[in-house]
């Protein structure tokens, strides 16, 4: 028996001490790494030396003014639509989870409709809203008119794009946020109730911060989809990044180099977002076992202001 032999001499005990163990070299893994790196380098070499990619043209257009304007539109639309979509999604999620039947069904109806129809169609509808409703009127049902607007004045490509993207996003975010809220332990809701917290404060201070752990990763996904989904607005004549490069290659016929400009920009943005998402996830993981320092951190009592 091995256990018995260990006790025979202290020499063997030292030998078997795992503190002195070595990691045998993993030749197979090194080989695999070398192979993968070689393939990647080869691909890079081929791409760099293939004249059809037109790298000089890519470089020439990469920071050209109209491209940067398009990039700005893409980023701006993403930020605005995502912000509005998340805010509305939060309201929809809370409404859907409320005990109130009316709010619950209205929210369900909204989500059903906006998730159930193609975004492209929604965008075109918003853009052509004036043919359906030439005037938008604020009035009491069957009662007097309070205010009215000409639809054509309200709906520009910009407002149609924002409305289409954010309403569609809201439907998806509502379900992501609802899933996050449901993932929070019921005991937490109970504790906030028992302490007499208002609904709003309980959500803000206790429930949402804990739900964030499961909300952030799919939201990162949504954000990245959104950046690319904004390219759909080119159909309603919004000059986003893709639209701007299309504008150029329609004149110059340098399709691949111009698309590479767009591709590289999209990849840069997504990479930055991935890094940011990592930071956010680490922030909301605080309080998990092994993070923060119970013993290191000194007790700090703030002075009264």
């Amino acid at each position: 028996m091995a256990a018995a032999s260990v006790e025979i001499g202290s020499g063997e005990a030292a030998l078997r001490d795992v503190a002195n163990a070595h990691q045998p070299p993993a030749w197979g893994r090194w080989l695999l790494w070398a192979f993968v790196l070689a393939v990647a380098a080869n691909f890079a070499w081929i791409a760099a030396h293939n004249p059809h990619f037109g790298w000089p043209i890519v470089g020439q257009w990469f920071t050209e003014a109209s491209i940067l304007r398009g990039l700005g539109v893409t980023l701006g639309l993403t930020v605005v639509a995502m912000t509005l979509g998340t805010a509305l999604g939060l309201v929809l999620a809370i409404a859907r989870m409320s005990k109130d039947r009316l709010f619950g069904s209205l929210s369900g109806l909204f989500i059903w409709f906006f998730r159930g129809t193609p975004l492209l169609v929604q965008l075109i509808f918003w853009y052509n809203l004036s043919t359906l409703f030439p005037e938008i009127v604020l009035k009491i049902p069957f009662g007097p008119v309070l205010a009215s607007w000409n639809t054509n004045d309200l709906i520009t490509p910009m407002t149609a794009a924002i409305a289409g993207l954010s309403l569609n996003e809201a439907a998806y975010m509502a379900e992501i946020i609802r899933g996050g809220l449901l993932s929070v332990d019921k005991g937490q809701v109970e504790a906030t109730d028992a302490f007499g917290m208002t609904r709003a404060r309980a959500l803000r201070r206790v429930i949402i911060p804990q739900a964030m752990r499961s909300i952030v990763p799919p939201t990162g996904n949504q954000l990245i989809s959104m950046i690319k989904a904004t390219s759909l607005v080119s159909v309603i004549a919004m000059a986003d990044l893709l639209y701007s490069v299309q504008n150029v290659y329609n004149r110059t016929f340098e399709v691949i180099p111009m698309l590479m400009v767009a591709v590289i920009w999209y990849l840069i943005i997504t990479s930055i977002l991935n890094v940011v998402q990592g930071f956010i996830e680490r922030y909301y993981a605080r309080g998990e076992r092994g993070t923060g320092g119970a013993d290191k951190a000194p007790v700090r009592v703030e002075e009264p202001a």
Partner: protein, 263 residues
């Protein structure tokens, strides 16, 4: 044997309390008075409705018949002339603010440190200035023996330490009444003592407490009165020596006999 002065208005007054979950009637007419400063320990087999009754007192569950008063105010309802009106969610939240609750599973906020857990309600619900709330919170954490863990997150604490933080959190709102629902049942045996000793101190200091527990020893030492519940009714109640030492009802005797070897 009650510490409370005879004739003082009760802190809790429950009359004919009925509660059903669907067809399952869990509370079948509970009557209970708790005097200010009194420590009542509720015993009873699992499923007898102890937690449900406790949760009705701060209206985490609504009752279907009877009424419950805390500190002279009917919980969940208000009398307007001859009409009894249901209170709004906000008004109920306000009523709960003088009742502290300690849960079996602690229910600390995991994303907040011990200190943040304790000051959350005083600052956010009771509107105390931060400095004042933190000073009192540190005092309470010291009282439960955890001053040096003020900046630890719940998951970095043992179960016993978490439950003591939870007790400090409930005390921070200066409650008139404290409800404990099996505060030691989720703890490893060697950690039960530290929590019970904190609770014994509170009992000695004259806090009004209703404690649901299976710790017969705690009931014997700290309770002014022991209430034995079974099948949704109060079967027997009285001073601990009487109920624990000389139970009158066969169901009480049967229940206690299971603990003989434990104590």
């Amino acid at each position: 044997m009650s510490k409370a002065a005879e004739g003082a208005a009760p802190m809790v007054r429950a009359r004919n309390v009925h509660k059903s979950f669907g067809p399952n009637e869990v509370l079948k007419g509970i009557d209970l008075d708790v005097a200010p400063g009194e420590v009542v320990v509720v015993l009873g087999p699992s499923g007898s409705g102890k937690s449900t009754f406790l949760r009705c007192i701060n209206h985490l569950e609504s009752i279907q018949r009877g009424f419950i008063e805390v500190d002279g105010e009917q919980i969940g309802y208000a009398l307007r002339g001859n009409r009894l009106n249901r209170l709004s969610d906000h008004a109920i939240a306000v009523q709960r603010r003088k009742i502290g609750m300690v849960f079996q599973q602690f229910n600390l906020y995991p994303h907040m440190t011990a200190l943040e857990n304790v000051v959350e309600a005083p600052i956010g619900v009771h509107g105390q200035p931060r400095g004042e709330a933190q000073a009192y919170a540190m005092e309470l954490l010291a009282r439960v023996g955890l001053a040096e863990k003020a900046n630890a997150y719940p998951r970095q604490l043992s179960g016993g330490q978490q439950q003591r933080v939870a007790i400090a959190r409930a005390l921070a709102i200066r409650p008139k009444l404290m409800l404990f629902d099996e505060p030691t049942s989720a703890l490893d045996p060697e950690l039960v003592g530290e929590v019970l000793s904190v609770m014994r101190d509170l009992a000695r200091q004259g806090l009004t407490m209703i404690v649901v527990t299976h710790e017969i020893g705690f009931a014997r030492e700290a309770a002014d009165r022991v209430v034995f519940m079974d099948g949704g009714v109060v079967v027997e109640q009285g001073p601990p020596q009487a109920v624990l030492g000389n139970p009158q009802h066969p169901r009480t005797r049967l229940f206690l006999s299971r603990f003989i070897e434990k104590v």
